[in-house]
């Protein structure tokens, strides 16, 4: 009975090894995730600073919670003003005081 004991039965079971650690189902993904996080910039994101008149306009009316329909109104007013002044220049000023052509 004793003679039958092999050497292998004396070696304790392998609880963990490098291969054993890597054989978990999501281990490969986790290592990729670690790589990904390493490549990310650390710390808080730098606050966006609007620059220039367009940037300030954008920050005021377009970005995040500031988004509003006011730019459409501004566009309408701009087109209206431009259209009217062209109309006035080409057409209406010649008819002041109800004058004919």
């Amino acid at each position: 009975m004793i003679a039958k004991r092999c050497l292998s039965t004396l070696i304790p079971p392998k609880i963990v090894s490098a291969k054993n650690l890597g054989s978990a189902p999501n281990a490969q993904r986790i290592s990729q995730v670690v790589q990904f996080y390493k490549s990310l910039p650390q710390g808080a994101a730098p606050a966006y600073k609007p620059s220039g008149p367009i940037g300030k306009y954008k920050a005021k009316y377009f970005d995040g919670d500031n988004a509003s329909g006011k730019p459409l109104l501004h566009l309408a007013l701009f087109v209206l003003g431009m259209g009217y002044s062209m109309e006035y220049y080409f057409h209406l000023r010649h008819h002041k005081g109800g004058a004919e052509h």
Partner: protein, 236 residues
């Protein structure tokens, strides 16, 4: 026609007309469900304007009204067909601001919230997955100690087994020696028994052969007589 003509026209217009003007306005007021407080109305108009103080807001209102009056009177702004369209367009803009814009805002906010919810949910899921992985790995952090203990246990096992084997061999040897000695004892005993048997047999055989000898018979007889005499002598 210029404003001068118009003012002339207005001055020549009978006052009855001005009195009659009140009627439709009154009717319009009645049509509104709850007539607003004029002050409230004014403040709501003011609050819709840009600027901070009530003064600047009223200033803007007054300035724009004055500018409009100036533009119209100087014919900088010429009223024509498009003016009506300008009015209706302003009405459309008002409708859009009042009804369309809040509806769109709700829709857009819901959409933004939906997207951020999806992203946040996936982030928490991801964090959970990483944490789970960290936990599963950290369970294995005492693995080298455990392995060492396991090796000690198997070393002990081997030692104990060796000792047991040694003892068992000793026991085996003793029992074998005992059995050898026992067999020796048995053999000696049987040999002695055999010798005694043979001795007894030879003695008996000799005696029986002696008994058949007449000389011996005589000798025995004489001996016996002598013994009997001696007995009687002693009895006396």
């Amino acid at each position: 026609m210029s404003l001068r003509a118009l003012t002339m026209k207005a001055s020549t217009r009978p006052l009855v007309m001005l009195g009659m003007r009140q009627a439709p306005i009154g009717a319009r007021y009645m049509s509104t469900p709850a007539p607003q407080d004029p002050k409230e109305k004014a403040s709501s108009i003011l609050s819709a304007l840009p600027g901070n103080s009530a003064l600047s807001k009223t200033g803007i209102l007054a300035t724009s009204a004055a500018a409009a009056v100036y533009a119209i009177s100087n014919e900088l702004y010429v009223i024509n067909d498009e003016t009506i369209l300008l009015a209706t367009f302003s009405g459309f803009v008002a409708i859009a601001v009042k009804f369309l814009a809040p509806a769109y805002k709700d829709y857009a906010d819901a959409r933004v919230k939906q997207v951020s919810d999806v992203l946040n949910a996936s982030r928490t899921k991801h964090v959970d997955a990483v944490k789970q992985r960290i936990d599963s790995v950290s369970e294995l952090q005492s693995v080298s100690d455990t392995t060492k203990v396991l090796f000690d246990v198997s070393k002990e096992t081997v030692e104990l087994e060796a000792k047991a084997f040694e003892l068992k061999q000793k026991v085996d040897l003793a029992s074998e020696a005992k059995s050898v000695l026992d067999s020796w004892v048995r053999y000696e005993a049987s040999v002695r028994q055999l010798q005694q048997q043979q001795l007894a047999e030879t003695v008996i055989k000799k005696v029986t052969s002696e008994l058949s000898n007449s000389k011996f018979q005589d000798k025995v007889l004489q001996q016996s007589v002598a013994d009997v005499e001696k007995l009687f002598a002693s009895l006396k």
